[in-house]
Symmetry: C2
Subunit: 378 residues, 2 copies
């Protein structure tokens, strides 16, 4: 199977770039002396999880966390459990209604931990016949979920969790909004300090809190003092995307996923092409709008993965049609209908979610070397 | 199975509203004296297709088009063929590379027509061993795909298509941008006039062009002279959404799909809730931003489908977290973690695409009366 044989639109994964990105993060986290718990929310693939885990140096401070992953849905937890993984963290606030499903997964070997910032949920966890190990979610500045590190409720929740308490976790998701190294460094420092502060308060009150889990791709790569942090969670680093490249999480050529698309129409008077990758194929994510380099719904590159199309971007995305504004600095040329291009995504987590599989290639090669399934839905 | 038992997030379909919307469009199109070819791009469901076809008055002018549907992907064509439907129009410009798959579907009974606006593609169609019936795509003002009705290339393409030419089609997708009845009426008039003009040019040159296919949900509902139009295509009318309600395609209470979600966090100081429907569950579509009533990533309603939450909207959408700004005019109240809400989508085509099934309910009732699968992907 070759790129030229695939039905379009479809999702292409470059395994050299993927391997490069995985190795880079594993090395950065190893330098911090901390375990990496890869977040599978972006890739949702056992094949990618195995690569990420194989690169993991396994320096967990409590001796048994270095083989773990993070998941964003219970569907991911079920899928990865079915593929023999265990030691997972479901990093979205749990509800009492979901505890039966968590228990079922744990009975099947998931080793699934959950998070909460709510006293009634903590009570429900402790009342369950098969309670999961639980981390208390801490807010270190994103103001999404979590308690402030100094919130009095922290100790109340710990008491209600009792022996189910396994530690604390936080996610400085506002790191994606940092627009300077200094901003990012401050956010990364605050993420670690807040998580540690919460863990220390718990320990001072007599609670065991072995796990101190922090992370986002930008803060995982930031320097600093990681003493006391037991694990880092990150996910989008594996694939990268145009937005991550703009904020400097990885280099511009380190985007591992792209959408293969066919030219389906010509607008020579406007120097535009229509392609069969539209809003469902690319997502309506417009992350790069907030950077200095708005790239519409994605950047067009050639089928071999080279940037020979300059600044040709998808300026409009209809349900199944994408409209590419060709780079005006290139010689005017309308590739024939059926010609293939690739589109680099604004936000790989969102774009990949439209596909049930990856067609895996090697950099610059036309052969499809593998087809890797994804687990979507909930 | 009841709404309170379903895993969240999931997609709810109200069959009374669906039936109402289907009947309303069928009646409008019947008044025009034209056949309706329902576009299944939104629903992607055989169960919904059967409802839409059952409501169809069947007034096709050429005697055999009234049972047809429109599809937006070849995956839809394959799915609906597998469920015994035939007479389909694939309304996205075809490429030569896709003709083998079209031929395979037609050998299996799809009765699949394609569209093109390109002479080389027309040549490839005629050269194929099993060429599909083909409509020439006409641009009546949207400037996406299609030839101007007066383009000299129209006759050249017709000649190359030869006996595979079945007529013309156009889609005035810019009707969604109309902000007054007068604007919409002008766009609807131009859509019909342009398609007719192209068909008349073809016929004057000796080509048979039996099908004159027009449509979008707004222009299908507009009044006017439909003489010479043989069919209308529309799709989003079945479900509706917040954007369609804003532009007046249907009433505010006629949105048939919603996302069932659970409360997973509280931000009482900001009068905000976190829910487990984020950017994948809702899509990042922001269609209502362009109207006078920006509703973020969706409008929260209660689990029974009532608008008891006022103007509570999803102001931020993270991958798996949605942040709801509760209506400040309501009494402050944080529903317990695990409580359920529904979110009405900005754009139902985009939101539904994240789900593989509908949980079907009756208006105001808690019981799930059916589970209907969807066909996603390509």
């Amino acid at each position: 199977m070759r790129l030229s044989d695939l039905p379009t639109p479809c999702l292409i994964l470059d395994r050299q770039i993927l391997q490069h990105n995985i190795a880079r993060m594993a090395q950065a986290v190893a330098r911090h002396g901390v375990a990496l718990r890869p977040h599978m929310k972006t890739a949702k693939s056992i094949d990618v999880a195995r690569m990420a885990l194989a690169a993991n140096p396994g320096v967990a401070t409590d001796g048994h966390e270095a083989d773990g992953i993070t998941v964003s849905t219970l569907a991911e937890a079920e899928y990865f459990t079915g593929h023999g993984l265990s030691n997972m963290l479901y990093a979205v606030g749990i509800t009492p209604q979901k505890l039966d499903q968590v228990a079922k997964l744990n009975a099947a070997g998931a080793g699934l931990m959950v998070i909460t910032d709510d006293a009634m949920v903590a009570e429900a966890i402790s009342a369950h016949s098969l309670p999961p190990r639980t981390l208390i979610e801490i807010d270190t500045g994103e103001h999404r979920g979590g308690l402030s590190p100094d919130d009095p409720m922290l100790l109340e929740i710990a008491t209600r969790l009792g022996r189910n308490l396994a530690g604390v976790c936080t996610h400085a998701g506002h790191s994606y909004g940092a627009r300077s190294d200094q901003d990012l460094q401050q956010i990364a420092d605050a993420e670690r300090a807040g998580a540690l502060r919460a863990a220390e308060r718990l320990r001072a009150a007599g609670h065991a809190a072995p796990i101190v889990s922090v992370g986002s791709s930008p803060t995982a790569l930031a320097d600093g003092n990681f003493a006391g942090i037991t694990e880092i969670r990150a996910g989008v680093y594996m694939f990268g995307d145009l937005f991550q490249a703009e904020i400097g999480t990885h280099g511009p050529n380190d985007i591992a996923v792209s959408v293969l698309t066919s030219v389906i129409g010509h607008r020579p008077a406007q120097n535009r092409l229509l392609v069969d990758a539209g809003a469902i194929a690319l997502s309506k994510d417009r992350s790069t709008e907030a950077t200095g380099n708005d790239q519409g719904y994605g950047l067009a590159i050639d089928v071999a993965g080279n940037r020979s199309l300059g600044r040709s971007i998808v300026s409009r995305a209809y349900q199944e049609h994408g409209l590419i504004d060709l780079d005006p600095d290139l010689p005017a040329y309308m590739p024939p209908i059926g010609s293939r291009l690739r589109i680099l995504p604004n936000h790989s987590c969102m774009t990949a979610a439209a596909y049930d599989r990856y067609f895996v290639v090697d950099t610059g090669r036309d052969a499809v070397v593998a087809v890797w399934p994804r687990v979507n839905g909930w």
